[in-house]
Amino acid sequence: MGKKVISTVSLAGCFGCHMSVLDIDLKLLDLVELVEFNRSPLTDIKTFTKKVDIGLIEGGCCNAENVEVLREFRKNCDILISLGECAVMGGLPALRNHLSLEECLEEAYCNVPTNKGNKIIPKHEDLPELLDRVYPCHEVVKIDYFLPGCPPSGDVIWSALAALLNGDEPKIAKHLIKYD
C-alpha cells in the first residue's frame, strides 16, 4: 500500500497550528514513514500535484483568496480537518467581526500608535478582497473533523492523524482537550 498523502495550509491563522504539527516531535519520524506531504508550507509545494487523503486547514477565511484556497483544498482532499480555534470558530481574527470593515482598516493602517502620519489604506486589484467578516471554514465548505485548541497540542494532532491513517474514527482523549 502506498503512502497516504497529507496537505496543509494556513489561511487567516498565525502559523501557530503549523508549529504545533512540528511539535509532535519524535513521532514526526513515524509520520514521514507513513505519509508524504503534498501542497503545504512545510514542503513549499504551492499547487496540488496529486489527490490528497487528508487536508489540514489552519485559520478561517478573512479574504477572497482564503475562500478560493479552501475550496481548492475541498476539491483535492478526501478528508478535511479544521485545525485549531481560528479554523473552527474564526478565532482571534474574528474579533473584528463586530466592527465595520472601515473601522477595522482605519485602526490597522491609520490610528495605530506606531503610525507616523500615514493616511493611506492599501487597496489594489492585486490584493485579495477582504470579506465583511471572518468566517469559520465550515461555513464555506464541508469540514469532516474539528480539532480544538489554540493551537491544538501535538498530542491531539498526532492522535487524530494516527487514527485516520489507521482507518479509525478519531477520538480525542478528554484530558488532551481539557484546558482548565
Binding site: 470593515l101 482598516l105 489604506i121 477582504l130 470579506l131 465548505v141
Partner: protein, 585 residues
C-alpha cells in the same frame, strides 16, 4: 427627558424594599439613570453596582428614559397571529417612532415585551401598566391621540368599555374580560367569606395537612409537587419565622388562568394562604404579583383589607409585592431572591425553599390555583378533589386556551381529559399543532391528540395553545426559542449560550441552509442544555424543539439540504461587497 427626583425620602429603607423603591423611581422619572442609581445607593447605604445589577436585570426597569407614557406590546406568538404586526406599525406611524424609541413628541415610549397574560383577547398591549386587549388599528389611533392630549391610560381604557365581573369594579376598572368558557363544580362555586378559614381553624394544623394530602392536591404551577407533603415538611421544621408565598408570576406564554383567579377568586386565594399559614405555623405572607398584572394590585389589597377587617387573617400579615418583568422570577427560588430585593437569579437546589426559603427561613411557595384549591378542600373536604382525575393527577385543572379556536378563554376540566376532547369543546378547526404547557411544554401533532392531560402523560401548567393548518411551525418555534434567549437569567452557560445556539440552528433550518448533521446537532445541544442547566428554565427550554421534532419530523426533514454537498453556498459576492464599495481619499 428623565425627571429629577429627591431620593432622601428613601433614607434607611431596607434592601428588601429595593424593587418597590425602583418602581417608584421608574414610574416618576421614566427611567433610573446612573445618577439616580448612585444617589439611591447613598440613601440605602448600598454600593452603586448593587443597584445597577438589579435595575439592569428586570425588563421594566431602564437606565435610559422611556417616556412619560410607556407602551409595551405583547410579542407572544398568539399576538403575532392575531395581527400584532399591523398594530405595531400603526403605533409606529402614529407616534413617529420605532420600537425601542420615543415618539416624535418625546414623551411616549414604545417597547415590546413577552406574553402579558391576555392571549384570549389578543392582540394586547400594556400602556402605563393598564392592559388594552383586542387592539385594532382604529383603537391605536385613538389611544395615541388621547395620550398626546394628556389623557391618562386608565381614562382612555374606560372609553373602550369595561370588562365583566370584577374587571368593572372600582378597584380594577379595565377592559379586560374574564372569558370563562367552561365552568366546573370545583372552582366555580359561590364563595362564602371565611368558610375555608373557619373550617381550618376548627381542626388541628396536622389535620388540615392530612386533608390536603388526602385530596391528592399537586402544585398547579407546573412541577406538580404534592402540596400536602410540602406543607408537612414546613410544619415539622422548627424556626423563629416561616413564610407563605403565593406565586402569581404567571409568566408562561399562553397562561392566563391566574389572572382570572386573582380577579374573581382573590378572597379564596387569600383564605387558602391563611389556611397554609395556620397549618405550617407561619405568620407572614406575600403575594408575588407579576408587573404585567399591576392593574390587579389595588383589588388584591382591598380583598386583603376586607378579610382582615372581618378578623379572618388574625396572626397573619399578608402583603402584595410586585415583580418587574422577568419570566424566570416565576421559578420559586428566583422569586424569593426577587422578594429579597435582588436580581431574580435561581438558587442552587437543594436546599429547597421549604427548608431554606425567604431570608433563609422555611417558606411555602405555591401557585395561585393551588391555594384556591386548598381553600376548596377545606370547604368541601378532600373527596371533592379526590373523586375526579386520574390516579396520579387528582381534581380539576384550569386551562388557558388560546390560538386558533372559536372560544378562547378559561376552561375547568378534570385532569385526565384528552387533547381531542378539549379541542372539540373549545371549537378548534383543523388543528395542526397543540402546544401543551407553553413554550417550555410539549409540542404535539394529530397523532397525539388521544393523549391525556395529566402529570403521568401530558403535564401542563395550564397553557394550551392551538395552531391550525395555516400556521407555520417554524415561525412558532422561533418565537418560543427567542423567548428563552430573552428570558434566560444568564447565570449558567448551558442555558445562556445553549438557547442562542438552539435558536440559531432553528433559524438555519428554517432558512433551508441546514444539513442532516444539523438535526442531530439540535438534538444533542437540546439534550445537553436540558441536562446541565441550573433551573427549570434551561432544563425545559429545549422541550419544544425535541418534541416538535418528534411530532413533525417530516417538516424538519423537508427543510434539510442534500447531504452529499461538499461546497456550501457561501455568497462571496455579498461578503466582499463592503470592501469593494469602500473608498477612501
Amino acid at each position: 427627558m428623565q425627571q429629577a427626583m429627591d431620593l432622601t425620602r428613601y433614607k434607611g429603607r431596607q434592601r428588601s424594599e429595593l424593587i418597590e423603591i425602583l418602581w417608584d423611581i421608574q414610574k416618576s422619572c421614566g427611567g433610573i439613570s446612573k445618577q439616580l442609581q448612585s444617589s439611591l445607593a447613598e440613601q440605602l447605604n448600598l454600593s452603586t453596582s448593587t443597584i445597577e445589577e438589579v435595575v439592569t436585570f428586570y425588563h421594566f426597569f431602564s437606565e435610559e428614559y422611556r417616556g412619560k407614557n410607556q407602551i409595551y406590546l405583547d410579542t407572544s406568538i398568539i399576538a403575532q397571529h392575531r395581527g400584532m404586526k399591523e398594530i405595531r406599525e400603526t403605533f409606529e406611524k402614529e407616534l413617529g417612532s420605532k420600537i425601542g424609541g420615543l415618539s416624535s413628541c418625546g414623551t411616549i415610549g414604545l417597547f415590546e415585551t413577552a406574553c402579558i397574560g391576555m392571549s384570549d383577547q389578543s392582540p394586547a398591549a400594556l400602556i402605563d401598566f393598564v392592559p388594552f386587549p383586542k387592539l385594532t388599528p382604529k383603537k391605536v389611533e385613538i389611544i395615541v391621540k388621547e395620550l398626546k392630549a394628556g389623557v391618562s391610560a386608565k381614562e382612555i381604557a374606560k372609553k373602550f368599555g369595561l370588562g365583566d365581573g370584577a374587571n368593572a369594579s372600582k378597584f380594577v376598572r379595565t377592559p379586560v374580560c374574564n372569558n370563562i368558557q367552561k365552568k366546573g363544580d370545583v372552582f366555580f362555586t359561590k364563595w362564602k367569606k371565611g368558610e375555608a378559614v373557619s373550617s381550618a381553624l376548627s381542626k388541628k394544623p396536622n389535620e388540615v395537612i392530612d386533608m390536603i394530602t388526602a385530596s391528592g392536591l399537586r402544585g398547579r404551577g407546573g412541577a406538580g409537587f404534592p402540596t400536602g407533603m410540602k406543607w408537612k415538611i414546613a410544619s415539622e421544621l422548627s424556626a423563629d419565622q416561616k413564610y407563605i408565598v403565593c406565586n402569581a408570576d404567571e409568566g408562561e406564554p399562553g397562561t392566563f388562568k391566574d389572572r382570572l383567579l386573582l380577579t374573581e377568586f382573590a378572597g379564596l386565594l387569600i383564605e387558602g394562604m391563611k389556611v397554609a399559614s395556620y397549618a405550617v405555623g407561619a405568620d407572614k405572607g406575600f403575594i408575588y404579583l407579576r408587573a404585567e398584572y399591576f392593574y390587579l394590585r389595588d383589588h388584591l389589597e382591598k380583598q386583603i383589607k376586607d378579610l382582615e377587617s372581618k378578623g379572618l387573617l388574625k396572626d397573619f400579615k399578608l402583603k402584595v409585592k410586585m415583580g418587574a418583568g422577568a419570566y424566570v422570577c416565576g421559578e420559586e427560588s428566583a422569586l424569593l431572591e426577587s422578594l429579597e430585593g435582588k436580581r431574580g437569579e435561581p438558587r442552587m437546589k437543594p436546599p429547597f425553599p421549604v427548608e431554606v426559603g425567604l431570608f433563609g427561613k422555611p417558606t411555602i411557595v405555591n401557585n395561585v390555583e393551588t391555594f384556591v384549591l386548598a381553600a376548596q378542600v377545606m370547604r368541601y373536604g378532600p373527596q371533592h378533589l379526590n373523586k375526579m382525575g386520574t390516579e396520579k393527577s387528582k381534581g380539576p385543572r384550569l386551562l388557558s386556551i388560546s390560538g386558533d379556536v372559536e372560544k378562547p378563554g378559561i376552561y375547568e376540566f378534570p385532569w385526565g381529559v384528552t387533547v381531542a376532547e378539549v379541542l372539540k369543546i373549545c371549537g378548534a378547526k383543523n388543528p395542526k399543532i397543540v402546544q401543551v404547557g407553553g413554550p417550555s411544554g410539549t409540542c404535539i401533532s394529530k397523532n397525539d391528540f388521544v393523549r391525556q392531560l395529566a402529570f403521568e402523560d401530558l403535564p401542563t401548567g395550564g397553557s394550551f395553545m392551538v395552531f391550525d393548518e395555516s400556521r407555520d411551525l417554524f415561525e412558532i418555534l422561533e418565537n418560543f426559542m427567542q423567548f428563552f434567549v430573552d428570558e434566560s437569567c444568564g447565570n449558567c452557560t448551558p442555558c445562556r449560550a445553549g438557547n442562542v445556539i438552539l435558536r440559531d440552528l432553528l433559524k438555519k433550518i428554517n432558512l433551508g441552509k441546514a444539513r442532516p448533521s444539523d438535526l442531530q446537532k439540535m438534538i444533542d445541544w437540546g439534550t445537553l442544555v436540558s441536562k446541565t442547566s441550573r433551573c427549570g428554565l434551561g432544563m425545559s427550554s429545549p422541550n419544544v424543539l425535541l418534541t416538535s421534532f418528534k411530532s413533525f419530523e417530516d417538516e424538519f426533514k423537508n427543510k434539510i439540504k442534500n447531504s452529499d454537498e461538499l461546497f456550501f453556498d457561501f455568497d462571496e459576492e455579498k461578503a466582499t461587497k463592503e470592501y469593494r464599495e469602500f473608498h477612501r481619499e
